[in-house]
């Protein structure tokens, strides 16, 4: 995997002991607490959580649109929480950002929008226009340079926003729910574009979302945020195979289509298959070995970061000895499984 090779252990962003409190006195609300994340150069890092979990606040702390109450943000080896004014404005040019609502200048054309950050940086007009045209071509909108945002579709607007965010050659692109306002097909094409930019430019991408699907499709690693904290952090397939926390399970299962509507009682087992185990009739063998039938409660397949995974939830028999035999069979074929409640 070419893109994996670019992922290095050299962090571009380190969030250290971040805490954010809104308001003060009695009305103080701690929105983020004890956040520690290290984002590697060249990776696509996802941050997922439910609405109100503090995702936007977290991403806004990364480029200091929001001032952390305590804690540090190290960007490219520099503690940017110490910077102010001009220095901070300068650093922000290395951190692009796109938004759910695109936030384009409505009174400027697509080209004008892409020129905008270059104007801010004092790039001469002619040069800016040339670069802006190239960028519009990169995002596949060469023919729309003279269109105003009101004449563009949501997907096209987000492409303009991406081109604009890339104009100053940033090292990182922060995406706050960048696909949440788009239909599934358009979401797909925007995610592909982000992946391509990550691949071609070595751009580090930070994706904020509430949709597990988005994470599964393009992220290398993911942090799950709930109750103002990072509940879990790891590679996407690791978290998918072995969600350690309730918050992670919730997210994985709400994305899978498995729901509480499926009423079952008793012990449940979740098995995750990857491509390797596809040839073997694992469930059949397991049943033959233990001589007990199992009830398949739910099953589906997923494409995570380019790899195919299958997941299945089984209802276990009552007899502990039978269960032991089943699990030891699964161990013997090196399959990932976990036992527990999987209710959303």
């Amino acid at each position: 995997m070419a893109e994996k090779n670019m992922v290095t252990d050299n962090p571009i962003i380190q969030i250290i002991n971040l805490k954010k409190v809104f308001g003060n006195g009695d009305s103080a609300v701690t929105v983020l607490d004890n956040i520690n994340i290290s984002i590697n150069r060249g990776e696509i890092f996802g941050i997922i959580g439910l609405s109100g979990a503090g995702k936007s606040t977290l991403v806004r702390c990364i480029n200091l649109l929001e001032k952390p109450t305590t804690g540090n943000i190290i960007f490219d080896g520099r503690d940017i929480t110490l910077l102010s004014g001009r220095e901070l404005q300068h650093v922000r040019r290395s951190i692009g950002m796109i938004f759910q609502s695109f936030n384009l200048l409505m009174q400027r054309t697509a080209l004008g929008n892409v020129c905008f950050p270059l104007e801010l940086a004092g790039v001469p007009r002619k040069e800016a226009r040339i670069r802006a045209k190239q960028l519009l071509e990169t995002v596949g909108l060469a023919d729309k340079e003279n269109s105003y945002p009101s004449q563009l579709s949501g997907g096209q607007k987000q492409r303009v926003a991406i081109a604009r965010a890339l104009a100053t050659n940033p090292k990182v692109l922060l995406c706050d729910e960048a696909t949440s306002a788009l239909d599934p097909n358009t979401t797909q094409s925007i995610l592909e574009l982000l992946k391509e930019l990550n691949n071609k430019l070595g751009l580090t991408v930070v994706i904020i979302t509430h949709e597990m699907k988005v994470i599964e499709q393009i992220c290398n690693r993911v942090a799950i945020i709930a109750n103002s904290r990072i509940e879990e952090i790891g590679t996407v397939d690791e978290v998918f195979r072995h969600p350690k926390t309730q918050a992670a399970r919730k997210l994985i299962f709400s994305a899978s289509g498995y729901s509480e509507e499926i009423k079952v009682t008793g012990r449940l087992l979740r098995i995750v298959f990857d491509g390797k185990s596809a040839d073997e009739p694992i469930i059949a063998n397991m049943i033959l070995k233990s001589k007990a039938p199992v009830n398949i409660v739910f099953a589906n397949t997923k494409n995570i970061d380019g790899k195919v995974f299958g997941q299945m939830i089984l209802k276990l028999p009552e007899d502990p000895e039978t269960v032991r035999m089943m699990l030891s069979y699964l161990d013997s074929v090196n399959l990932t499984y976990e036992e527990g409640k999987f209710h959303v």
Binding site: R92, R93, F99, N103, L104, L105, M106, P117, L120, R164
Partner: protein, 220 residues
Amino acid sequence: MFSSEMFLLVAQGFLESLYMTVISTTLAYVFGLPIGIILVITDKEGIKPSPVVNRIIGGIVNILRSVPFIILLVAVMPITRAIVGTTIGSTATIVPLVIASAPFIARLVESSLKEVDKGVIEASLSMGATTFQIVYKVMIPEAKPSLITGAAIATTTILSYSAMSGFVGGGGLGTIAINYGYYRSKTDIMLVMVAILVLIVQIFQEIGDFISRKSDKRIK
């Protein structure tokens, strides 16, 4: 009823009214626009929050706005005399017109600029824009259609204020209307003046709306 003499008088009144309105509006914007901008950026939700500055300027604006124009007209006469040398005539009227309308314009500008999408300002900040760049590259251009509509409202308001100054010899159509219609009971002349004023207001408003619509790229 309309002799050629009368026609000349009306033509002169018309030009005087136009002169007062245009000059006063321009000068009022010279003061009102920056004040409006300061009110927006120092707001607690603004890009440079400063409650103290905001409250002081907002307070002054409110005080000036709550004084009825006809009272202000008389009250600022010493200032008018100091600046223009007289308190009669159209040039002298410009002084109270500017003082009365600058705060009004500041509020118009403030409300136009506040309509600019917060997200766009945030995006600009994320690109490293300075406060100054946000004002003149984001807020003003993005609010342009609304600012133009505001300017049409300001112009027509100033025109009607200028007519009111006819009571204290302010010149223009208002003076003619009062001299003939009120003091000499020539109702027809007064009605003609009123008709002309209404017409000018209509024209200004239409032009303003037209330019505003034309300049707004949000409309497909």
